[in-house]
C-alpha cells in the first residue's frame, strides 16, 4: 500500500504524552484490556464522541508496564487538562477500585522517560 507523505513539522499537530500510574486496591489485579476499556468508556461518557475526537487521544500499548502499572497516553497539547481530569473520574476497572497518579507530561516520550 502506498504511504502518505508525512506532514512538515510546522503543520503537524502538537502532541503531549501523559505518563500515569494505576494504583489498585491491595491484592487486586486487572488486565490491559480492562484499563483500555475503562479509559475509553469514561472519556466517551464525560466528553462525548465529538469531545474525544478533539483531544486526539490514544493509549500507547507498547509503553504499558504491567509490573509497575505505568502507561502513557498521547493527546494534543490543547487537551491535556481535559484528558487528565477524565482519568481522575475513573475509580473502578471492572470490580477493582483504582486510583490514577500522574507522573509527568511532556512533548516527547524521551522527555517523559528523562523526567
Amino acid at each position: 500500500m502506498k504511504k502518505l507523505k508525512i506532514l512538515p513539522p510546522t503543520l503537524r499537530e502538537r502532541k503531549r504524552y501523559i505518563a500515569f500510574q494505576v494504583i489498585p486496591e491491595i491484592d487486586e489485579d486487572f488486565t490491559y484490556s480492562d484499563l483500555e476499556a475503562g479509559i475509553w468508556n469514561i472519556m466517551l461518557d464525560f466528553l462525548g464522541e465529538e469531545g474525544v475526537s478533539k483531544t486526539s487521544m490514544w493509549l500507547l500499548k507498547d509503553t504499558w508496564n504491567p509490573r509497575k502499572g505505568i502507561g502513557i497516553i498521547k493527546c494534543n497539547h490543547k487537551s491535556t487538562e481535559t484528558v487528565i481530569s477524565s482519568l481522575g473520574l475513573i475509580d473502578r476497572l471492572g470490580d477493582n477500585r483504582i486510583c490514577f497518579k500522574i507522573l509527568g507530561i511532556s512533548g516527547t516520550i524521551r522527555g517523559l522517560k528523562l523526567k
Binding site: I23, E25, D45, T80, E81, T82, I84, S85, L87, G88, L89, D91, R97, I98, C99, F100, K101, I102
Partner: protein, 238 residues
C-alpha cells in the same frame, strides 16, 4: 509546589477509611498535608482526634490538620466558641440559610459545596461579596462529580462553573478538594487542578486553589491559635 487536600472524612465520624490510610495515600499522591474534617460531637472526641492525628503525622511524615464540619447554625456557634482549639472550620453547604450564615461568619474558613443537592447553584453575587469581605473560601468538591453520572453530573458541573465564575469576579478564594470519604476516592493534585481548569479557572488560579489558598488558611489558623491574637487585624504586640 506544596499541595493540600482540605476535605477528607475518616472513619472517626462517618467515613470509610482510617486516618492512617488517608495519610499514606496522600503521601503517595504527592500531597504535603491533608485536613481531616469530622463532625463535632464533644470536646473529648476533639482531643482524641488531635492526639491521633499528631501520632499518624509523625509516623507517616505528612502534615495532618484537624478540621470540623458544621451541619447547622447551632453547630457553627458551638464550634466558634472552641475556635482556637482546632485548625479549620468548614460548613457543610447546600442549605441557603446555612450558606449565607457561613459566608457572614469570619471565623469560618471554607464553605463546602454550596450547590450540594440543589437545583440552583446556592451562591449569588451578594454572597460572593460577603465571602470576599469575610475571607471565606468556597469549595469545589470532586466527589460530587465522581459519584454522579449523566444528567446529574452535567447539572452539578454547570452549578459549580457558575459559582467559580462569581468567585473569580469577586476575588473569592476557591479551594478544590477531593471530598473523599474513602482513601480510594483521593485524587492526584494534578487531577484536581485539571478539573479546576475545566470549570473556567486559569491554570495558575487552579494551582493556587490547591496550594496557596489552603496554606493561607493554615497561616491564619496558626495566628489565631497564638495567645496574642484577639480578632482579625488585632493582636497584642507588647
Amino acid at each position: 509546589m506544596n499541595y493540600y487536600d482540605f476535605h477528607v472524612r475518616s472513619d472517626f465520624s462517618e467515613g470509610e477509611s482510617s486516618i492512617e490510610d488517608f495519610a499514606s495515600r496522600a503521601r503517595l499522591l504527592g500531597y504535603k498535608g491533608i485536613c481531616i474534617t469530622e463532625y463535632f460531637q464533644s470536646k473529648e472526641q476533639m482531643e482524641e482526634l488531635k492526639k491521633k492525628c499528631e501520632e499518624i503525622s509523625e509516623k507517616i511524615r505528612i502534615e495532618i490538620f484537624v478540621g470540623f464540619q458544621a451541619r447547622n447554625t447551632k453547630e457553627i456557634s458551638k464550634l466558634i466558641s472552641l475556635r482556637r482549639e482546632y485548625d479549620v472550620l468548614l460548613v457543610k453547604g447546600g442549605d441557603l440559610g446555612l450558606n449565607r450564615k457561613a459566608i457572614e461568619t469570619p471565623e469560618v474558613d471554607i464553605l463546602l459545596h454550596p450547590e450540594f443537592e440543589r437545583r440552583d447553584s446556592g451562591f449569588n453575587h451578594i454572597m460572593a461579596k460577603l465571602a470576599k469581605e469575610n475571607n471565606v473560601a468556597v469549595e469545589v468538591n470532586f466527589r460530587e462529580i465522581l459519584l454522579s453520572s449523566k444528567n446529574t453530573r452535567s447539572h452539578i458541573i454547570h452549578n459549580i462553573s457558575e459559582n467559580v465564575k462569581l468567585c473569580k469576579k469577586f476575588h473569592v478564594p476557591i479551594a478544590i478538594c477531593s471530598g473523599a470519604i474513602s482513601h480510594l476516592q483521593m485524587k492526584d493534585p494534578k487531577v484536581l487542578i485539571s478539573m479546576g481548569t475545566l470549570f473556567g479557572l486559569e491554570l495558575k488560579e487552579a494551582k493556587k486553589s490547591v496550594s496557596e489558598v489552603p496554606e493561607n488558611i493554615i497561616k491564619m489558623s496558626k495566628e489565631r491559635q497564638n495567645n496574642k491574637w484577639i480578632r482579625p487585624g488585632v493582636k497584642v504586640i507588647k
